[in-house]
């Protein structure tokens, strides 16, 4: 059913060669190529600029501004950051912890919800779907959740405030449901005939068959947890629990954060006046964003198969 684009274009080539009809292909193809090349450049160039800035000597920035090809290179920014690595490593630790725990738990819960709502023979399918997907249409807003989490659940200043409220997302359940409803029901049926229990069927048959959806959603979920700054902004005051994104937020708002921040300067005796703050903050942005950009290509092959948006109706 899924023909690859290559097979498709090979097919259209063969049609062209047999001369069934002429396509105005060259001009359209050329234009589309030029357009996509420009877009690709537009997507990539800002990264290159930021990377270049992070390797530029501070005095060169002050003199020439940000450049793609710095007049003077320097590793100072990274050197300074890694000289006092406690803040950074701790932030990485928190971020990695929330990302791993959050992604795994969320995948499990999403898969379970998606699976049960995809089962046509589940008696309470209608009400359950409504229960899940109504939250997509209406929500209590920021403040009630804020008060609930802070005043009643007392999750503030724990990593759970950055995990638990974000485990279930109706849109991802919709994607999961769309994928799982394509798992042939006969497989489930015959496993049941053989006496397998539902939970076993789910873990040993349905989950392994859903690898593309799990990989795709797993990647999106890990983007979500890795990139989350909002929950930390709201709930985390404890310096030891700051994730890397919140560190960036503070630096963006206050350039001096790195130098005035307690640990960096005082503890390690950095000479504040020599601190390359302009290039260092771009280096921080790269250290925060880089890991996600690097892992994404490994998941790309699952994307097209894994992203089938299901239907609310059935």
């Amino acid at each position: 059913m899924n023909t690859t684009p290559q097979a498709l274009s090979a097919k259209s080539r063969s049609v062209r060669e047999t001369g069934t009809h002429k396509e105005p292909f060259s001009l359209v193809n050329l234009l589309s190529h030029i357009m996509f090349t420009c877009i690709t450049l537009a997507m990539i160039l800002p990264f290159i600029l930021v990377i270049a800035i992070s390797f530029t000597k501070e005095s060169s920035i002050v003199e020439h501004g940000y450049q793609f090809f710095p007049s003077e290179y320097s590793l100072k920014a990274y050197q300074y950051i890694f000289e006092a690595p406690t803040i950074l490593l701790r932030a990485y630790g928190i971020t990695i912890m929330t990302t791993v725990i959050g992604t795994l738990l969320s995948l499990l819960v999403t898969a379970m919800l998606g699976y049960v709502t995809s089962r046509r023979d589940f008696r309470y399918r209608g009400p359950t779907s409504f229960f899940i997907f109504f939250t997509m249409l209406f929500n209590g807003g920021l403040v009630p959740s804020y008060i609930l989490i802070k005043q009643y659940l007392h999750l503030d200043n724990t990593i759970w405030s950055m995990i638990l409220p974000f485990l279930v997302s109706p849109f991802y359940i919709l994607v999961m449901k769309g994928f799982m409803s394509k798992v042939p029901f006969e497989i489930i049926e015959s496993a049941k005939m053989d006496g397998a229990r539902e939970i076993r069927i789910f873990f040993t048959i349905v989950l392994p068959l859903s690898t593309p959806a799990l990989a795709t959603l797993g990647l999106f979920l890990s983007f979500g947890f890795w990139n989350a700054w909002f929950p930390a902004l709201l709930y985390i005051d404890n310096e030891k629990l700051i994730p890397i994104q919140l560190l960036l937020v503070r630096m963006l708002q206050k350039l001096e954060f790195l130098t005035s921040g307690s640990d960096f300067s005082s503890q390690f005796g950095i000479d504040v006046s020599k601190f390359p703050s302009l290039s260092a903050r771009m280096a921080m942005a790269i250290l925060a964003g880089g890991p996600m950009v690097c892992i994404f290509p490994f998941f790309q092959k699952y994307f097209v198969k894994g992203l089938t948006v299901g239907s609310l109706k059935g």
Binding site: M1, R123, V143
Partner: protein, 309 residues
């Protein structure tokens, strides 16, 4: 042999579905706590919340919180901003993503992979990181954009202090970050279309334009309407990260960048105004709900199959 069927009690079915219900339980609890409990919290919109008195004992104030918000000029401004940005994002994303997906479908695999990767990379980043990228371009003193303008002999700008350029900057940033994801969803949709339609059309001598408009778009219409209806509900919910970090929380740009979400955040974090923040949140959610139901109703009138529910 026909057995006499007894009417079965609900307990029988509950038991029969018990294992599936068990699978449902953890997720259902999470939804109950983190999505449904806050819904009841909207009554705070009608109370004067005080931390010392708590949720139950804070005094009722009727519509005072709404009144306070709606009589100010801000309400009109931020509502207008939120809706205008929301509509623009929605329409541009849909049109451009569809165009990209259709063009990508025609591309050779090697190029497809390169362009798809490039298009998707910005989606991996948080708005905070994108804020840094924007700063590299827009910074008044060192920013690349000002250097280019200077080199070309144009007037340089203090971007973070002006209001006029921001709609363009925000729309560009939004598309830059999100277009890859939408393109991917539509591309996956196109991949799901049975290739026989295209082969048949080719034999009949259809042009590529005809195939795109007569096969691809109609067969994608279900996906397009589902995503459109969902995003219509979000028109009233702005993208906080985009509107907070890209203008770098600069007060000068508020007239053209402030949306309901940034306003609520400031009201909450800076002024600690629980009642009004809740009231605005309720206003957002309620209007969003009405919009989704209305959009779904219209779609159902036109073509029942495409409606969301």
């Amino acid at each position: 042999m026909i057995k006499q069927r007894k009417p079965r009690s609900e307990w029988y079915y509950l038991k029969k579905n018990s294992e599936l219900l068990l699978l449902l339980l953890p997720g259902a609890l999470l939804i109950l706590v983190f999505a449904y409990l806050p819904m009841f919290g909207v009554v705070l919109a009608f109370k004067d919340f005080r931390y010392d008195l708590g949720f139950w004992d804070s005094p009722w104030v009727g519509f005072h919180n709404f009144e306070f918000f709606f009589v100010s000029d801000t309400a009109a401004l931020i509502t207008r901003n939120t809706v205008a940005y929301g509509l623009t994002y929605m329409i541009l994303t849909t049109v451009i993503a569809l165009l990209f997906a259709i063009l990508m479908n025609e591309m050779r695999k090697r190029w497809l992979r390169i362009h798809q990767t490039a298009l998707f990379i910005p989606y991996c980043l948080s708005w905070v990181v994108v804020g840094y990228l924007a700063l590299a371009l827009l910074d008044t003193q060192n920013g690349y954009l000002n250097k280019v303008l200077e080199a070309l002999g144009f007037q340089t700008h203090m971007w973070y202090l002006e209001t006029a350029p921001w709609p363009y900057i925000l729309i560009s940033a939004y598309l830059w970050k999100n277009i890859g994801f939408s393109t991917l969803v539509y591309f996956a949709g196109i991949m799901g279309i049975n290739q026989e339609y295209y082969e048949a059309a080719k034999i009949d001598g259809a042009s590529r334009w005809q195939m795109a408009t007569k096969i691809t778009l109609p067969l994608l219409s279900n996906l397009i309407t589902v995503l459109l209806i969902l995003s219509i509900g979000h028109i009233f919910v702005g993208d906080f990260g985009l509107h907070y970090f890209i203008p770098n929380d600069s007060g000068m740009t508020i007239p053209t960048t402030d949306i309901i979400d940034t306003y609520v955040y400031r009201a909450l974090r800076v002024n600690g105004d629980i009642g009004m923040s809740t009231a605005i949140g309720l206003y957002q959610s309620a209007v969003g709900l009405v919009l989704v139901i209305a959009a779904n109703f219209v779609v159902r009138k036109i073509n029942d199959e495409n409606s969301l529910f």
